[in-house]
Symmetry: C4
Subunit: 240 residues, 4 copies
């Protein structure tokens, strides 16, 4: 299997893991930087994560254009992926998902932070991108142009995760597994945090603890522990 | 397949999608205006959405009477559908569902509003219909007459969704997919909103954003994206 | 099929419906008054509701004694059923279940009430039985004697549902379907009510509305609508 | 089957029960003291509970070292089990799990207590271990050394359950079933308690009630009632 075939299979698995965990519903999309061409990324055509197959994975350039002609409908959100790969050379995976648990942190002044160690990779700061700040109050909320996508990437800055008001969250990863792992825990962490806030003052994961967790190789055994299990659980043995 | 057969199959799929997503339990009903006769609508006999088959779909006139004789028990709530099709010529689908997440907004003074972009089609105002206002405190709460149904339709007015105190919600759609799509997200939005309100001031989807979303063709690719996935997920390939 | 065989099959179905809906976990028990001998009731031996079969159903007298010898372990809670059948001749079904959603109403001063129309049959008052009031603070909390059971039945009085502190709830029914139907909605109603209380003043189902709902025959089509669906959903066709 | 084979099979079942109930996700580990050698314990190699098989169970000494050489990756958390078996001779099972419901009690000043009778075995006091108290704010939060593990065991003291800040909980049992049973109810109890606290003053399970529950043989019928059901429900008949 070539590196590209491996990357495509892994992206299929990632889509199905995220659907199986309810991180994706009929929306939600995850991409990975092309293993051989850093100016390209791989992303499925517009279809539900639960049903993605290798043939659905397309190659895109860093302005969100498909690398070869394809008649099938594309994700509007392909621009978002393009802009982040362009702005962040060390990022190799991007993921965008709706989440009713994360959403409250995008429409109120309460900031999202990590209370769950497993989501420490998210960092200590999670900015919120509100489309109205730059594009006014009469949009359909979607990141449907490179201009909007670059504005979102700017708000993400050097952080690992950014919330999109009224939509959900965008997570980045050093590897595909890294992005998937964090994203499986982001909604769980949001629920735990919401309950903790009801109780009063909360003791979040500290910067020092985040740094220690980020020092662990994202492809180490401890960090990969979920992947094979999740893949089997989501019925993806054939692509492992 | 005739337009009527297509409409019947789609209505079967809609029932099963809504049951699969927990929007319907043993109650809950969805109808579609007859594709050829605008003074008629299609609705299943009294049975659980998860088990609806094409043979369960009946045709009704706009006073809730079955168009042909049928011995099987009918939904009490058929009147509600009739009254809304009568009052709202542009509405082509009506859906009524209980929802423990939406219910709190029907028995308190807290108004339901959209915080999730996907539910922007719901509009910025969601009125509440309380049967006691017109029919007193000694009813069984059901919309079991055309008189009650017309009163409910009046409270709905020009809006897209109305809550029924102690029961749940009624959603309308320009198309069947439109009503189903909004309704799958209404309970999710209710949960997100409830949590957001705990946090403090909430930034809802604005009127301008609602207008932009309503400007999207409800049968466009973006808006139909869920349908095929949901249908497959609910085991409805055979009716696609 | 004799009336007794029918009652036994229905009790098997009821057990499995309640397990399927998460009302029962490995605990939880439902009984029905013997169709031919009003001084007897039918209840499964000690086993999880999800796996009850006709052979597990035993006959008990109104002091909780098995009508015929049986070596298999019995439910401790058989006394509770006995005491209620003894005190309430019009009750034909008794059900006891733990429920993490109902429990908060048993350990605080917040009373449970109906906000969901479907649970109107629960009545407007739901008393709480706290074992310590009569039996002190050093029990294991279980209703393991007729004395405790009679005290619980006394607290239930003429109401339809009583909460047991730290345990869950006991529901009574005019028929088996009546008890099952209410019980499926009791946890849902508890969740809706808890959220409603966060919002502020709550408008519950009124006494007049309860009376109207109780006026509906519990074996009418509207009230039986869930049974066949639930039975199929829980894999119980063979006992229908 | 030898006592060791029985213990290994039971540990496989326990892993799968806990995964089936969502107490374990890809993390989470449960161990049992070796039936013949009290200075040893049995624990699976690093793998997800849902897929543990008898061949995955390894034997460890009380400093967390595998009793025989093995090339497969080990759980970092094996030290935690070792330290507790060393400090608490009457403990025969140790279990560690993440839980988004329990977590809020580990990052706030709100103490976890039992409101659910079934979790009375947890005792009336549940201490919290915060790694920063002894090891500072720059760790990766994991109990990856015997020194950390012994500090955790010290915080557990004579209690039955201890929370780990940002991670979850550690439960101990007199038997494997005892630890599993309590742990299935710990997240449910946390949810019930959180809701109860919203309502106001809470009436927890008292010390006298805890004592009565702990007086019940953990291998009695009443306490074993869940095991066989859970095992079947988790697809573990072949190891029963």
């Amino acid at each position: 299997m070539t590196a590209l075939e491996r990357a495509i299979n892994d992206l299929v698995i990632a889509n199905r893991i995220l659907a199986h965990h309810g991180v994706f519903d009929e929306y939600g999309h995850v991409s990975v930087r092309h293993p051989g061409k850093p100016e390209r990324y791989l992303l499925a055509r517009a279809c539900a994560g639960a049903f993605v197959e290798p043939g659905d994975i397309l190659e895109f350039t860093l302005d969100g254009t498909p690398a070869s002609e394809d008649n099938r409908p594309l994700c509007t959100e392909r621009f978002l992926h393009a802009a982040i790969y362009g702005a962040r050379p060390e990022v190799n995976s991007v993921l965008c998902a709706g989440s009713e648990d994360v959403l409250p942190f995008s429409v109120t002044q309460t900031p999202l932070c990590a209370v769950l160690g497993t989501v420490g990779d998210m960092g200590t700061k999670v900015p919120v991108w509100d489309i109205t700040e730059r594009f006014g109050g009469d949009t359909d909320l979607t990141v449907s142009t490179m201009e909007r996508a670059r504005d979102l990437a700017k708000r993400l800055g050097d952080d690992r995760v950014v919330l999109m008001r009224g939509i959900g969250f965008v997570a980045t990863g050093r590897t595909l597994n890294d992005a998937v792992k964090t994203s499986v825990y982001i909604p769980k962490n949001a629920r735990s945090l919401a309950q903790s806030l009801e109780f009063g003052t909360v003791r979040p994961i500290s910067q020092g603890e985040v740094d220690q967790r980020l020092a662990i190789d994202p492809e180490s055994n401890a960090m990969r522990r979920g992947w094979e299990y999740w893949a089997r659980d989501a019925g993806c043995e054939r692509w492992l």
